[in-house]
């Protein structure tokens, strides 16, 4: 889903523009509904036994990541953003993964193993 275009400087085009934004509003409401539905699904799935606690955590994190993706892509307009913002976020993602990788190293302990 693309973002509404930047507002036109020409008042005569404004009506068409407002109509465009209106279309996006429907999308936002749908995404809001989806997020609420996924919340209910997360709660319901937490009472289903997937065998191990780890499996349950995995399922819940999968749904949470899906929800986060919806918020990011639609509400935060990341589905269609300028290149510079993607670059900033790629850097951030890299360092955050590094952070969790450190935790993995501490837990797996490859030096002593």
């Amino acid at each position: 889903m693309n973002n509404p275009p930047d507002i036109s400087q020409d008042p005569s085009e404004h009506e068409e523009y407002a109509h465009n934004v209106q279309k996006h509003v429907k999308g936002y409401l749908v995404v809001g509904g989806l997020l609420l539905a996924f919340t209910a699904i997360t709660v319901a799935l937490s009472y289903v036994d997937f065998g191990t606690r780890k499996a349950n955590i995995g399922v819940a994190m999968l749904v949470a990541t899906l929800k986060a993706g919806l918020v990011g892509a639609i509400f935060m307009h990341l589905a269609a953003e300028k290149r510079l913002i993607y670059r900033v976020l790629i850097f951030t993602g890299f360092f955050v993964l590094g952070l969790f990788w450190l935790i993995f190293l501490a837990w797996y302990n490859p030096i002593v193993r």
């Binding site: 997360t42 918020v71 509400f75 900033v88 952070l99």
Partner: protein
């Protein structure tokens, strides 16, 4: 001095300034919360079996707060869209709804959830004394069912002075359902609805207790990370609400009349922050309430 590029795009970045500014800030926020979440993972992986509690928080209340934050994310994006369509009245109402959602979220947290924790007691039993408290812990039952062992007795502390008075030798606890009836298979998994402590009193010798406190950050690694992460998240909600109140007050109308697109961009940037706060909660909720 006029701040440049509030609505027009800066040629070298291709963005108006506040947009790149908020994203740089959010990148630093990702690292801040990333650090705390990785600490959570570290503490949880390191917890011996039975030491990480399951089902201590009130799930319906947490679910409701999650829904409230999601709805506020919708209303703030609708507020922004209303400004883009030059409907100030609609903007005003959507903004008010967003502010109210934020206030309700914080109220639930500060007036209900946290104080309820401060009133709840838990004591970890020393390994050598676990057998003695089998009637409250039901570890034969958990072993049979291949569940993690129960190491803690929780509930409502009737003699609170026992925490500070060394002459009192035991804790009198109105037991939580799981400790009141530990061998009942209904207690194997947490309940969806909150069940308050029972009337059944359990007596725990102080000498048999490794650690006993109210549910405060000092209680366990779980509550330390719970209060740190939800506390920092709550501060973010508070900050967002304050910014939204400023954008909702009559001063915003003046900016709207002078330059509506400038106000729309401000709301978009504040909204980006708000969505991020919502996004953090999307992970906090299952990690602390459900798993």
């Amino acid at each position: 001095m006029e701040i440049p590029y509030t609505i027009s795009t800066r040629p070298d970045t291709g963005l108006w300034n506040a947009k790149i500014g908020i994203w740089l800030f959010l990148a630093s926020e990702v690292m801040l919360f990333g650090g705390l979440f990785s600490a959570y993972v570290f503490l949880r992986l390191d917890a011996p079996p039975g030491m990480w509690p399951h089902g201590l928080l009130n799930v319906p209340v947490g679910t409701m707060n999650t829904a409230i934050l999601i709805m506020s994310s919708v209303t703030v994006v609708l507020a922004w869209a209303a400004l883009k369509m030059r409907k100030y009245r609609a903007y005003w109402w959507y903004m008010l709804a967003t502010i109210l959602c934020g206030v309700i979220f914080l109220t639930v947290k500060l007036v209900y959830e946290w104080p309820q924790k401060f009133e709840h007691f838990g004591g970890y039993i020393k390994p050598e004394a676990l057998e003695k408290y089998e009637q409250y812990l039901g570890n034969k039952h958990t072993a049979e069912k291949n569940l993690p062992p129960r190491l803690e007795i929780t509930g409502h502390l009737h003699n609170r002075e026992a925490l500070s008075n060394p002459n009192i030798k035991e804790y009198e606890v109105g037991l939580d359902p799981v400790n009141a009836d530990p061998a009942n298979p209904a207690m194997d998994r947490p309940h969806f609805l909150y069940v308050p402590p029972t009337e059944k009193i359990g007596k725990i010798d102080k000498a048999d207790v490794e650690r006993a406190t109210m549910f405060l950050p000092t209680h366990s690694a779980y509550f330390a990370s719970y209060f740190t992460i939800t506390g920092l998240h709550g501060l973010h909600v508070l900050a967002g609400v304050l910014v939204f109140i400023y954008m909702w007050l009559p001063v915003s109308k003046k900016l709207y009349q002078r330059n509506p697109e400038h106000l729309a961009n401000r709301v978009e940037v504040a909204g980006l922050f708000w969505h991020f706060v919502d996004l953090v909660w999307i992970f906090v909720f299952p990690l602390f309430y459900l798993l």
